[in-house]
């Protein structure tokens, strides 16, 4: 990338197969435009989304990460998102202590019917990431010999 081009944040979205992925799909079929900065990775359930994947995304150059699944009570596997929520509470504290920028880690509940919410939220976090600039701090960690 040359310096002249404006900064385009890379955003990795880990979404659950049953709600948020379908929400994103709905955004598409409704022709709701959202930033191309987001790379969607579909997983069975937020309960299956290993926190290592969040770190992995940063290692591979992501500027922000989104983890999104079904609203509480709507989980296809009954309670996967409840388990996930509890882990996120702990994980966010660890990220704070490590000094990792928690403004770059987002969580949301987006159902299959919420194409509009998906569009809006993804646009919002893209703008947040754009304003924050590249996640240079973690890149430096990954490039250190």
């Amino acid at each position: 990338m040359s310096e002249q081009q404006p900064f385009e944040p890379k955003i990795v979205a880990y979404v659950c197969n049953w709600c948020t992925y379908l929400g994103a799909d709905l955004a598409g079929t409704n022709r709701l435009e959202y930033p191309a900065n987001v790379r969607i990775i579909r997983l069975p359930c937020t309960g299956r989304i290993d926190f290592n994947l969040i770190i992995k995304a940063f290692e591979m150059g992501a500027d922000a990460v989104l983890v999104s699944g079904c609203h509480p009570g709507d989980c296809h596997y009954t309670a996967g998102n409840f388990h996930a929520r509890r882990r996120w509470i702990l994980f966010r504290q660890l990220l704070e202590t490590m000094g990792i920028d928690t403004r770059r880690v987002h969580f949301s509940w987006i159902s299959a019917a919420e194409g509009k919410k998906f569009q809006q939220f993804v646009t919002e976090i893209t703008e947040t990431a754009r304003a924050l600039g590249p996640y240079q701090a973690y890149r430096e960690i990954c490039q250190a010999e």
Binding site: F51, R86, I89, L90, T97, G99, I141, Q143, A144
Partner: protein
């Protein structure tokens, strides 16, 4: 007190109640090391002094030690919490274990963690030896004082701190091996088909590893600080453990290994968990 310990262990071995006593033995310069006594005449090797640092509970899940037969284990009050967690996680069968509690006197074991000690007498031991110097009530603020001080730094300063600290990590995995609760037969750090965590001792690999280690102990770490004690690079891993312990206490009113009745918080959930950070 040491004599009482030896007599108790001799009796346990003589009666055949246990086949092995996991305790502390004498090393050079007054240091103590884990020792495994299987013959009653060897109980003279057992010691109890202010340098009995190791949390012996880490041996309870090791095949080499399990092969020795039914065990009696010496624990301090701080170490004992590991037994509670191990039992909750179905790693040990309490009925097949004799727990010898060692009460710490004021001039007992001296480690950084002793500053925040609130309970010097093991609570669930089958036999308790010695008299503790009395208990000191500690507030939540006391428990997390070191973390609180660290969190005064800005996020950038904290990141810079971990960059200099983890630059010294050589990935010897002493922190993992000594931990009584890192009992996985295959650690995710050793998973190589495919590799999950870079095995290189670079900043990238060391960040990924220490985040993983700390988080896998979230809501489970009992704060014995063994990881911090054994780190040959002097990395203050305690801060990471404390941050998760505090998150567990503040959000779920849970402290690992303190209450035998309390259910573990990981692997469980409540519909009322907070979610103001979720959109």
């Amino acid at each position: 007190m040491q004599n009482e310990l030896r007599q108790t262990c001799r009796r346990l071995l003589e009666e055949g109640t246990v086949q092995v006593v996991i305790g502390y033995g004498d090393g050079t310069d007054g240091q103590t090391f884990p020792t495994f006594v299987t013959r009653r005449d060897d109980v003279e090797r057992l010691v109890w002094n202010e340098r009995c640092y190791t949390n012996l509970a880490t041996y309870l899940t090791r095949p080499e030690i399990l092969a020795l037969g039914k065990a009696a284990i010496c624990v301090k009050a701080c170490d004992e919490r590991a037994l509670v967690v191990l039992e909750k996680e179905s790693q040990i069968d309490r009925s097949q274990l004799v727990v010898i509690g060692l009460a710490c006197s004021t001039d007992g074991v001296k480690q950084p963690k002793c500053e925040a000690c609130e309970n010097r007498t093991p609570r669930w031991a089958n036999v308790t030896i010695g008299d503790a110097a009395g208990e000191t009530a500690k507030t939540t603020a006391d428990r997390y004082a070191a973390l609180q001080a660290f969190m005064q730094k800005t996020p950038d300063e904290r990141m810079a701190y971990w960059k200099t600290e983890l630059a010294r990590c050589v990935k010897c995995y002493a922190c993992r091996q000594v931990c009584p609760l890192c009992y996985c037969r295959q650690c995710i750090a050793d998973k190589n088909r495919p590799v999950v965590i870079s095995t290189s001792a670079t900043l990238k690999g060391s960040f990924a590893w220490q985040i993983t280690r700390a988080f896998h102990l979230g809501g489970r770490c009992i704060g014995c600080d063994e990881c911090t004690r054994v780190c040959p690079a002097g990395i203050d891993l305690r801060l990471l453990n404390l941050s998760l312990a505090r998150a567990a206490e503040e959000n779920f009113n849970f402290r690992a290994g303190v209450d035998v009745e309390a259910e573990p918080i990981v692997g469980a959930y409540s519909e009322r968990d907070r979610e103001e950070f979720i959109r």
